[in-house]
Amino acid sequence: MIVTQWALYCLLGLAFSLSFRVAGFFDLSIGAAFLLGGYSTWWAAQSVPLAAAFPIGIALASTVSILVGLWGVAPLASRLPPLNMFVVTLGVLYFVQSLAALAFGESAKVLRSGPNPTFAVFSARISFVQLFLVAAAVLVTLCLAYTLARSGWGRFARAIADDRHLADLLGVPIQNTLLKTYATGGAIAGIAGSLFVADRALDPAQAMTVLLAAMVAAILGGEAILGAALGALVLACLESGLGFVMPGFWKSTVVFCILLAVLALRGGGMFRFIRRKL
C-alpha cells in the first residue's frame, strides 16, 4: 500500500537526510536506531501496555543515538573524512545488529501474533497501525519543518548544512548542534522501528534493507532535508506501481535505474526548488 510505504520511507529518509545534510556524511547508525526502536518497543511490550511500550522504545532509541553520537560519532566526525565516518557508522550498525541477534535471537519479532485490527475506508481496509504510521510520518515532517525553520537549533543546523566552515567562523556551536541532530535523527528512526515491528516483523537483518530505501529517498529528495519526504513519495509510488507491471524482483533494479537517471539529469535531486526553505 503506497501510503504505508511512503510513511516508512519518509520517516527513515528524514532521519537519514538530517544527519547526511548536517553532519556531512552517510550516517548508517540510523539503521541501528531503527533496530533499537523496534526491539526496545517489542521488549517493553512484553511487560507494559502497548501505549507505554511505544514511548519507551522511542526514548531508548533516541537515548542510545545521543550516546553513540556523544561518545562515538561526534568526536570522530571532527577528525575523520566523510568516507571514514561512513565506515565508522557501518561498524555501529553491525555492532547493534549483532547485539540484537545475541539478545533477542535471529527469529523475527512481532508485537502481536496475528492480523492487526482494521477499519474500512471506502472499499479498502486499513489497520490502525498503518494509520498511526502515516500519522506519525505527517506529524514528524510538519514538526521537523517547523523546528528547522523557527528554532535556534534549526537555524544552526541549516547554517551548518549550507556551509560548515562559514558557520564555524560565525560562531555556530557545531558540536552541540550535531548532538541534537543525532538525537532527533535517532528518535525519528526509533519511531519508524517501533511502528515497523507493530505493522510487520522485525529481525536484525532488516535494518540494511530499509536503510537502503531511506538513502534513495534522501538522494531523490535533493539537497533539502525535507525533500526526503517527497523522495519517499516518489519511491513508494514507483515500487507499488511497478509491482503491477513487472515481477517484484525487478522493482529494485528499476528504482535504482531511475535514481541513476535522476542523478545524471539533475545532480541535486528531484526537488531542488525547496532548498532554501528546507
Partner: protein, 414 residues
C-alpha cells in the same frame, strides 16, 4: 594455502599503514604516545593474525595424519531462515555424535566445520570455497535452501567434494552436477501434489505468490503446469523479492483476479506476513502453502491468520506418529534441545548419515564418497530408506497434505 601471497599482502599493508599515518598526521591532532603506539599496535595485531592464519590452516608437511575426519556443513545459521539452520545443525550434531559414540570411522572421530550461508548464495559460495580450500573437507552437508545449494554446486564439482543437500528442492538441482546429491525430493513432486489436491477440492482459479528465487520460480512453474493440466486456471503469478516485508500491493493485484485459492511459495516468515496482511486487507480465498511453511515460527508470527492454511509435505517423519527408531530419536532430540525435530533436523540427519555410511564403506576423498553414493544408491536414515536416482535425487518419498488447525500442524484427511 597461498602462504607467500598472504605474507606479502600483510607486509604491504603494514608499510602502507605507516605511510598513510605519516602523511595524515598534520591533519590529526595526536600525542607523541599515540603516534608511536598506534602503528606498533597495528603491526603487533597483524603479526598475531599472520601467526594465527599460518598455524591454523591445515597440517604442515611431515606432520602426522589428523586424528579426525572433517566434514563441512553450510546452513542458514543467521538471518530469515535461521530457525531451519538451527534445527539442521542439531540434526547433523545428532548423527555425528551417534557415529562417534560407536567409535567413529576406523577409530577416527568425525568433526564438522559449520559455515553460515544466511540463505544468501554469495555467502554460500564463500563458505563452500573456504571449506574445500582451507578445511579440505571431502563432503559438504547443505544447504537447506535451493539457491545457496545451486550456488555451491559448481564449487563442489570443481573441487571434487560431494555436496548433499538437506531440503533444497528446485528442479534445477537434478542437473547441478555429478557431485551433487539431495535427500529431499524435487519440487516436481510437491508442485504436483499441491495442484492435484487443489483441483480435487474443486478450486478452479488459482493465484501464485512466490519468492523470486530458483526454488520459488521452479515450484511455481511445476504447479502452474500441473494445475492447468488438471483443468484449472492460474490467473495471476506474482514474484516478490527476498527482502520484501509488505505484500499488500501483491495481494491487491491478486484480489483483483478473484482467485479461489492463493498458493504461497515462500519461507515461513514471508508466509506469516502475507497471511497476516491478507487478513488485514480482507482477501477471502483458500491459502495453500509450500512445505517450507511448517515451522513453529509461522504459528507465532501469523497467529490465527494461519488457520486453515493447507500445504503438501513429505511424510517420512511425523512427530505425532513416529516409528520405533524415530521414537528414540524424537525423545533424545527433544530432551537435548527442548524442541521437537522438524523436517530440517531429520533431513540434515539423513544427509549426514549418507556421508557417514559412505565413510564407513571406506571412502575418504570426495571422489570416493561420490563413487559409493553412485554405486550403492540406497542408505538408511531417520526418515527411512534413502534411494538416489541417477541424478542424485532422492526417490520414492511419499507426500501428503497437512493444514493448520487450532494452532497446530495436523494431517488433512484424504
Amino acid at each position: 594455502m597461498p602462504l607467500h601471497f598472504s605474507n606479502s599482502r600483510h607486509t604491504e599493508c603494514i608499510c602502507s599503514t605507516g605511510v598513510n599515518y605519516d602523511a595524515n598526521q598534520k591533519f590529526i591532532m595526536k600525542t607523541p604516545v599515540q603516534e608511536s603506539f598506534v602503528p606498533k599496535l597495528a603491526c603487533a595485531l597483524l603479526i598475531a593474525l599472520q601467526i594465527f592464519v599460518i598455524t591454523g590452516c591445515g597440517p604442515e608437511p611431515g606432520k602426522p595424519e589428523q586424528s579426525s575426519i572433517k566434514l563441512g556443513a553450510v546452513l542458514p545459521l543467521t538471518g530469515d531462515s535461521a530457525a531451519w539452520g538451527e534445527q539442521g545443525r542439531w540434526g547433523i550434531q545428532y548423527a555425528v555424535a551417534e557415529a562417534n559414540e560407536k567409535g567413529g570411522i576406523g577409530g577416527k572421530k568425525i568433526e564438522v566445520v559449520y559455515e553460515d550461508s544466511q540463505a544468501i548464495p554469495r555467502l554460500a559460495m564463500t563458505a563452500a570455497t573456504k571449506l574445500t580450500d582451507i578445511d579440505k573437507v571431502p563432503a559438504i552437508i547443505g544447504d537447506i535452501v535451493s539457491a545457496t545449494t545451486l550456488a555451491m554446486a559448481p564449487i563442489a564439482e570443481q573441487k571434487k567434494a560431494v555436496l548433499v543437500g538437506i531440503s533444497c528442492s528446485a528442479p534445477a538441482i537434478s542437473q547441478a552436477g555429478e557431485f551433487v546429491f539431495r535427500v529431499w525430493p524435487s519440487d516436481n513432486l510437491e508442485g504436483e501434489v499441491a495442484a492435484k489436491w487443489t483441483r480435487s477440492k474443486g478450486f478452479q482459479k488459482a493465484a501464485v505468490l512466490h519468492i523470486a528465487t530458483d526454488y520459488g520460480q521452479g515450484l511455481a512453474a511445476v504447479f502452474k503446469k500441473s494445475f492447468e493440466a488438471n483443468g484449472g486456471k492460474v490467473v495471476s503469478i506474482q514474484a516478490y523479492s527476498q527482502d520484501q516485508t509488505d505484500f499488500r500491493s501483491n495481494l491487491a493485484r491478486i484480489e483483483s483476479e478473484s482467485p479461489d485459492v492463493v498458493y504461497l511459495i515462500s519461507y515461513y516468515k514471508d508466509a506469516a506476513l502475507a497471511l497476516r496482511q491478507a487478513k488485514e486487507v480482507g482477501l477471502k480465498a483458500q491459502f495453500l502453502g509450500a512445505t517450507a511453511v511448517e515451522n513453529d515460527e509461522l504459528l507465532k508470527l501469523a497467529g490465527n491468520a494461519a488457520e486453515g492454511l493447507a500445504y503438501p509435505t513429505i511424510v517420512d517423519f511425523d512427530a505425532d506418529h513416529p516409528t520405533k527408531t524415530q521414537s528414540a530419536f524424537l525423545t533424545k532430540f527433544t530432551q537435548l534441545h527442548g524442541k521437537k525435530p522438524d523436517w530440517a533436523a531429520t533431513h540434515a540427519y539423513d544427509a549426514t548419515a549418507v556421508i557417514i555410511q559412505a565413510l564407513e564403506a571406506g571412502a575418504r576423498s570426495g571422489e570416493e564418497i561420490r563413487a559409493v553414493l553412485d554405486k550403492r544408491r540406497q542408505f538408511q536414515g531417520i526418515t527411512g530408506t534413502i534411494k538416489f536416482d541417477e541424478n542424485g535425487d532422492v526417490i520414492d518419498k511419499p507426500a501428503i497434505m497437512k493444514t493448520v488447525r487450532d494452532g497446530k500442524f495436523v494431517r488433512l484427511e484424504p
